[in-house]
Amino acid sequence: MKKSLSTHTARGRESVAVCLAILCLGLAGCGKPFERIQPGVRVDAGWDDYRLGEFSLALKEFQAASADAIPGSAVHLEALYGEATTWCLRRPDEDLERAARLFHEVIDLAPTNSMAAWSWLALARIKALPVDGEAPALRPQLDAYQEVIRRFPFHAAGEEAFLMQQAAKLGTPDATQAREALAALQEFIKTHSGSPWRCAAYGLIVHCCTILGLDDLRLEAMMQAWKTAEIDPINPVQDLSWTYWQIATIAEFNAGDFATAREYYRKLIAEYPTEQRVFLAKQELKRMDDLEARLRAEGTAP
């Protein structure tokens, strides 16, 4: 009986061991084969998550990429920049201090790298973020943008910083600031003749002229903004109805250049016949005709 029991116990142990072995094999088989994900792939995944608003997942990807990448390598900088951007712009749970620290880390690792240029710009943009809906102080913004312009004057980030700096100056319609911005923008057009930002620069000149009451220059800048507008090769048929409308109304109500106003109202009517402003454009054409007829009659009156 005793022997029989011990035999049973031994058999039981064997069975348990076999089961455990099968279970282990099974679990090993079920597990994914170990595969190291490249940091570059993780950075791309991080940005995908970021764009979908999955900020916590994005942070995990960027942090993992940062940990795996060779310090100071391009991928490492990208991972740090991605993490910093996420901390900066995620809502809720943003951490601007942490973001700034990470942007500075990118700058310290590679001060002349493109990532450093975008990091400087991001640091300036932090200063431009409204606090509880109130406009931030102007001077720190202008200084921060100036830092980017000084370090990267011809980099895309530097050009963007320059335009944001001028736009910040125009945030309060003050004649002194507007004159300063106008001069800077005119200089930018001269020195950055190949910049893709020229259209935006002309747009800001239009705004300076609105504040300063420089009507003829405003019309000229509006025309230049139209001429320098970029055409998207994937979407070449752009809706210009708004541009035509702006040129026509500036010409009619500010510059008093009725010939130009008529030309652009007519372009709007011909090219966008179902646009909602067509009726108003026709009314304005008639109003200009009526005014000119009245003034002509005055001129011929004895």
């Binding site: 940005w47 970021y50 764009r51 979908l52 608003g53 991605g82 951007t85 712009l89 809502r91 943003e94 973020l129 409204p130 509880d132 809906g133 109130e134 406009a135 335009l163 944001m164 736009a167 125009l170 945030g171 309060t172 319609p173 893709p196 930002w197 259209c199 935006a200 800001l204 705004h207 504040i211 970029e230 090769p233 994937i234 979407n235 048929v237 809706d239 409308w245 702006q246 109304t249 500036i250 109500f253 500010n254 510059a255 008093g256 250049d257 009725f258 016949p273 179902t274 909602q276 402003r277 067509v278 009726f279 108003l280 026709k282 009314q283 005014l291 000119e292 003034l295 002509r296 001129g299």
Partner: protein, 571 residues
């Protein structure tokens, strides 16, 4: 049957019924699933929508059959889901990864805008590349070779999602609102064969209708109205009278009056409630609502339709979406007509000088479909949408439903001819609310006005001081909200820029252009117009200030100098 068996059946009847029902439903589901199993290599595409109106499902069945003739390997199955649960249904299907291959989007209020933006990027495929290519199903038509987008009456303007800088939807129909009327009743009560288009004649017809009673002595109602319908009459008739406000308050000359601009107009004394077009709007609204049945504000759409179908009212306003259903209800009972909204004549003593033209109707296409990312055959789904969005396909689809096609050069059924949109004209400009408190106050007073419990003057007298006082805080809050939105734009733009940086050379140019365009509009210039308007507000009331569309003396001098250069020199 023995007693035991009977007792067993009696004691277990509920269980037996439940079991039988379960077995029946299981067999039914298995049978239908079996029928849906495609043959080897065949494709089944599912299409989800909320259009339960007469004709829509039939139209999809017919179009699917036609498409199947052209492509025997493709079968289309539709899921028609009631409007009330569509939002929840779509959300659960998308999140569960079980959504149809094509799904209708754009149901107002079903899903909040910001959530929908998330759905667009997460669950739907962008269409920009496809819609700039010609639609192969337009071969042999007047639209052959044209980019698909350009073949739409509205150039697919509303299919573009600016946040994503992509065209995301394929629209299939256009819609409009008109007046439907009972021709027989109109003839019997007024002697008119056709409903009058002139406003005064229309009111006269309504007066005649109201003055008569039926066999049981009950008076007839000229217009079947409800809380649902009153907005249509206001939007198509009385509100456009306020168009003239443009010349007083369109400070940025964009051809529209925003609620911020109107507030500045009121604060600076350029406009007020005594502005004749504003008074005219409310006079006309009163004249119209006087023709509705009593207590219309407490009634819903169905009550008004019932009154019309019961031949107790002559006129009812509704849209193309209801045309088929109304015709069905009238069939064999009375002859129904469709008419445009009446307009005041140029010599109308009250409204002639104020009404500057016909009402503008924006040609917008909707009934839009997207392709989901879970679709296993996106090229086949796109091809089916191309088929429905072609000149011939779109005409046929809309002919069956009884709606207006979205594609150029398509024929509209005779019934829908009065729905031809007015592509030139005026629209309303009276956005007199800024935020929470002014909205509530205005709604309260406006409701009282609608039911004739308050006069326009009393309404204006009570609202104006409230608007001018509370509007200041609400104006400031509006500006704060605009700034608060900046972080979200920054968030979006950071993602767009990285996408541009990482794009392949061919695509990068386009991506960078989109980035710069978005950057300029959303961040660089977002506060500039608001700042100019704030300056105007801070300057306060300016006596004899010129309106934004007035020719200033300086401008007239410039024009004079251009016309008479020598006279200018002499001066």
């Amino acid at each position: 049957m023995n007693l035991g068996m009977l007792r067993f059946l009696k004691n277990h009847s509920a269980l037996i019924v439940v079991t039988a029902t379960f077995l029946w439903s299981a067999v039914a589901i298995m049978t239908s699933r079996h029928e849906e199993i495609p043959a080897k290599g065949a494709i089944i595409l599912r299409l989800g929508h909320w259009q339960l109106e007469a004709g829509v499902r039939e139209a999809f069945i017919a179009m699917a059959a036609k498409y199947h003739e052209l492509h025997p390997d493709v079968t289309i199955v539709q899921d028609a889901v009631p409007e009330g649960t569509y939002g929840q249904w779509m959300t659960t299907q998308l999140m569960g990864g079980t959504s149809p291959d094509m799904i209708e989007v754009g149901l107002g209020g079903a899903i909040p805008y910001n959530v929908m933006m998330g759905y667009y990027s997460r669950y739907f495929l962008p269409m920009s590349a496809s819609i700039n290519q010609p639609n192969p199903y337009n071969k042999g038509t007047s639209l052959e070779g044209m980019p698909w987008r350009a073949t739409y009456k509205d150039a697919m303007r509303f299919a573009y999602v600016e946040e994503l800088q992509e065209y995301m939807q394929i629209p299939l129909s256009q819609f409009g609102v008109r007046i439907f009327y009972n021709k027989d009743l109109l003839r019997r009560l007024t002697g008119l064969k056709v409903a009058p288009h002139n406003y005064r004649e229309f009111l006269e017809a309504c007066r005649k209708i109201k003055s008569q009673v039926d066999d049981r002595g009950k008076p007839y109602t000229p217009i079947a109205g409800s809380a649902y319908h009153v907005g249509m009459w206001d939007g198509m008739m009385s509100d456009p009278l306020t168009y003239g406000a443009l010349r007083r308050a369109d400070f940025n000359h964009d051809g529209a009056v925003g609620n911020d601009e109107l507030f500045v107009g009121f604060k600076t004394g350029l406009i007020d409630f005594s502005f004749p077009p504003y008074e005219a709007k409310f006079r006309m609204l009163r004249e119209l609502t006087d023709q509705f049945q009593t207590g219309f504000t407490g009634l819903g759409r169905d009550e008004a339709v019932f009154l019309f179908a019961q031949q107790r009212a002559v006129f009812i306003s509704t849209g193309t979406w209801d045309a088929g259903s109304l015709y069905e209800q009238a069939r064999g009972v009375f002859e129904m007509g469709i008419m445009d909204f009446p307009v005041p004549a140029g010599d109308d003593p009250e409204f002639g000088r104020i009404s500057e033209g016909p009402v503008y109707e924006r040609p917008a296409s909707s009934f839009s479909f997207v392709i989901t990312r879970t679709c296993k055959h996106p090229e086949a789904a796109l091809d089916f949408l191309r088929f429905l969005g072609s000149q011939r396909g779109n005409e046929e689809l809309n002919r069956i439903i009884g709606w207006i096609p979205a594609i150029q050069g398509t024929r509209v059924s005779d019934m829908l001819e009065p729905f031809d949109p007015h592509l030139e004209g005026i629209f309303g400009y009276m956005p007199v609310t800024l935020g929470g408190e002014t909205i509530i106050k205005w709604q309260q007073l406006y409701s009282l006005y609608q039911v004739n419990q308050i006069s326009y003057k009393d309404m204006a007298d009570e609202f104006l001081p409230f608007y001018l006082e509370h509007g200041v805080q609400e104006w400031a809050e509006m500006n704060r909200n605009r700034r608060r939105g900046m972080a979200r734009d920054e968030q979006l733009l950071a993602g767009v820029r990285v996408l541009a940086e990482k794009a392949a050379p061919g695509e990068a140019v386009s991506r960078w252009i989109k980035y710069r365009q978005m950057m300029t509009v959303r961040l660089m210039t977002r506060d500039l117009n608001a700042a100019l308007l704030q300056k105007k507000l801070d300057e306060g009331v300016a006596a004899h200030a010129a309106g934004p569309y007035d020719f200033s003396p300086e401008l007239i001098a410039k024009v004079r100098a251009r016309l008479h250069p020598r006279a200018g020199e002499g001066k």
